[in-house]
C-alpha cells in the first residue's frame, strides 16, 4: 500500500483543506482498490511557507500540494488569466475553464513538469475595505492589497497604492493598523482570516479571481500501480474542478448572506455606469497581460469561451 503525502499550508479546520481536499482524498483512496492511502499534512506541517508549496512537490518532500501561484510570481504564469478583472464570474465555470485550457495544451511551461490534479479559480474578488470605495476615483492614494501581481497592476491603474507581500494571516493586523485600507478578496478569505469584524464596505465588482492548483510530483505518479493511477485520474481534472467550484461558490454565498445581515456592513452593487468606470479604469491590466507574451490572446479567448459554455455561466 502506497501512502501519498498531501501538503497544505491551511489549518486542518479550514474549508478547502478540511472539506474539499479531505473528501477528495477519501474518494481517491476508496477507489484505489486498497493500493493507496492519502495523508493530509495541514497547517504547513510539511512546509510552512505558502510561497514554497510548489517547491515541496518538485523536491519530493510532499507528493501532492495545494498551491497558489500568485504567492510565487513567475511560476505558473499563464494561470494569471484568472486574475484579470471582469473575466471570472464564479468559481465553478472558471475552474472548469481552467482545466479545459490546460487539457488543450494552452498553458505550457511549469504545467508540464507536474502531474496536474486540479486547476481552479476562486470566486471573483471584490473590493473589500474599511472605507467606502464605490467608484474608481475613490481609490486614489489608498493603500490597497491584492493577492498577486496581475491584480496589483489593475489596482495601481485606479490610482491606488498597490501593497504586496502580505499573506493571509497578516491581513487582520495590516487592516487594523491602517497599513492597508482595503483589499481585493472574496468572502471565504474574509472568513478564514477573520476579517469580518474589520471590513465595513464591500463593492461587488469582479476584480479578478485567485488561481489555485493541486499538483502532484510526476515521477511519483508514474511509479504508482495502475489501480492507484486510475483512482487518481477518476477524481482529478474536470471532476475535481467541478466539485471544487461548486462547493466554493455555495460556501461563499452562505458567508455573504451572513455578512449582509450585519448592521455595520455596507455591500454595494454598483450601477451599470459605475461598473463601466471600473472596467475602464482596470482595462490596462488586461491589455498589459495580453501584450506581455505571444499566444496570450488565444489563451484569453479560449478561457472565456470555455467559461461561457459551462452551465454555471447561464
Amino acid at each position: 500500500k502506497e501512502t501519498l503525502r498531501f501538503a497544505s499550508f491551511e489549518p486542518a479546520g479550514a474549508f478547502l483543506t478540511g472539506t474539499i481536499f479531505a473528501l477528495w482524498a477519501e474518494d481517491v483512496a476508496a477507489a484505489s482498490e486498497g493500493t493507496l492511502e492519502i495523508k493530509i499534512f495541514p497547517g504547513g506541517t510539511l512546509g510552512r511557507d505558502p510561497a514554497a508549496q510548489i517547491d515541496l512537490v518538485e523536491n519530493g518532500v510532499a507528493d501532492i500540494a495545494w498551491a497558489i501561484p500568485g504567492y510565487a510570481p513567475g511560476r505558473f504564469d499563464e494561470s494569471t488569466v484568472i486574475e484579470l478583472p471582469f473575466l471570472v464570474k464564479n468559481s465553478e465555470a472558471a475552474s472548469y475553464a481552467a482545466w479545459k485550457v490546460f487539457e488543450d495544451g494552452l498553458l505550457g511551461g511549469d504545467y508540464d513538469k507536474f502531474k496536474m490534479l486540479g486547476t481552479f479559480s476562486s470566486p471573483p474578488n471584490m473590493i473589500a475595505a474599511t472605507i467606502p470605495l464605490v467608484e474608481p476615483s475613490d481609490m486614489k492614494g489608498v493603500n490597497f492589497r491584492a493577492p498577486g501581481p496581475t491584480q496589483l497592476k489593475a489596482i495601481e491603474a485606479t490610482g491606488a497604492v498597490p501593497v504586496g507581500g502580505i499573506t493571509g494571516p497578516s491581513l487582520a493586523e495590516a487592516l487594523n493598523r491602517d497599513l492597508i485600507k482595503g483589499l481585493s478578496t472574496e468572502f471565504l478569505a474574509v472568513e478564514t482570516f477573520r476579517l469580518e469584524e474589520l471590513l465595513t464596505n464591500y463593492t461587488v465588482v469582479p476584480m479578478g479571481a485567485t488561481p489555485m492548483l493541486v499538483i502532484m510530483n510526476k515521477q511519483r505518479y508514474e511509479s504508482l500501480p495502475d489501480a492507484a493511477k486510475a483512482a487518481i485520474d477518476k477524481y482529478s481534472g474536470a471532476a475535481f474542478s467541478e466539485r471544487f467550484g461548486k462547493a466554493f461558490d455555495e460556501r461563499v454565498a452562505t458567508i455573504r448572506e451572513r455578512v449582509t445581515a450585519r448592521d455595520d456592513v455596507t455591500i454595494v452593487a454598483p450601477t451599470e455606469a459605475q461598473v463601466e468606470l471600473w472596467r475602464d479604469a482596470t482595462s490596462v491590466a488586461t491589455e498589459d497581460w495580453l501584450a506581455a507574451k505571444d499566444g496570450r490572446q488565444s489563451l484569453y479567448d479560449a478561457f472565456a469561451a470555455a467559461m461561457k459554455e459551462h452551465p454555471a455561466s447561464q
Binding site: D55, E58, A72, P73, G74, R75, D77, D110, G141, N143, G148, P149, L152, V161, P162, V163, G164, G165, I166, D178, L179
Partner: protein, 186 residues
Amino acid sequence: MTLIEDRARAATRWLALIGFAGLLVLAIMTTLDVLMRWLFDNPIHGVNDVSAVVMAVVIASCIPANLEGRRNISVDVLGAMTGRRATRLLDAFGGFVTLLFIGAVAWQFIGYADSMYHSGRRTWVLALPLWPWWAAATAFLWFAALIQLANVIRDLHRTLTGGSDGHASPHPIRPDAADSLGHTES
C-alpha cells in the same frame, strides 16, 4: 596560508557589519514609510516588496562571523565533567558536524538559487528578479562553510598536537558568547 586565513576571518566581521548596517537602513526606510503614512497619508511605494529578500541577505551575511566566533548555542556538560583533552575532542567533533551541516546547506543553496533563476521568480509589486539576492546569500553560505573548514582544521591540529590556546572554559557555557550579548556600559 595563515595570512589568507587571518584575512578571511577578519572579512567575516566586516561582512556581518555591512549586513547589519543594511538592517539599520531597512529600519530607517520603514520608519520614513510610517511617518509618510501618518503625517501625509502618502506612503512610499513598494517598501516591503524587497524587505523579505533583503532580510535573507542580511542574515546570510552574518553567518560566517557567527561560525568564525564559534557562537552557536551548545551545551558543553560532558566536556565540563571530563578533562581538557576530552573537551577539545568533543569541540572538534561538534565543529565537524557543523561543517557537514553548513556544507550541505551551501551545496543545496546552489540548486535553490539556480531554480530561482530558471523559474523567473519575482517580487510582487516592483517585479524585481529574486535570483541575484539568493545568489548573494549562496555565496555568503559558501564563505561560511570555508570558515568552518578552517575551524575544523584548527581544532584537529590542536587536538593532535595538544597546543595551548586558552580557549577551554571552566564553565559549561561559553562565557565569550554570553558576554558578547550584554556589553559596553562605559
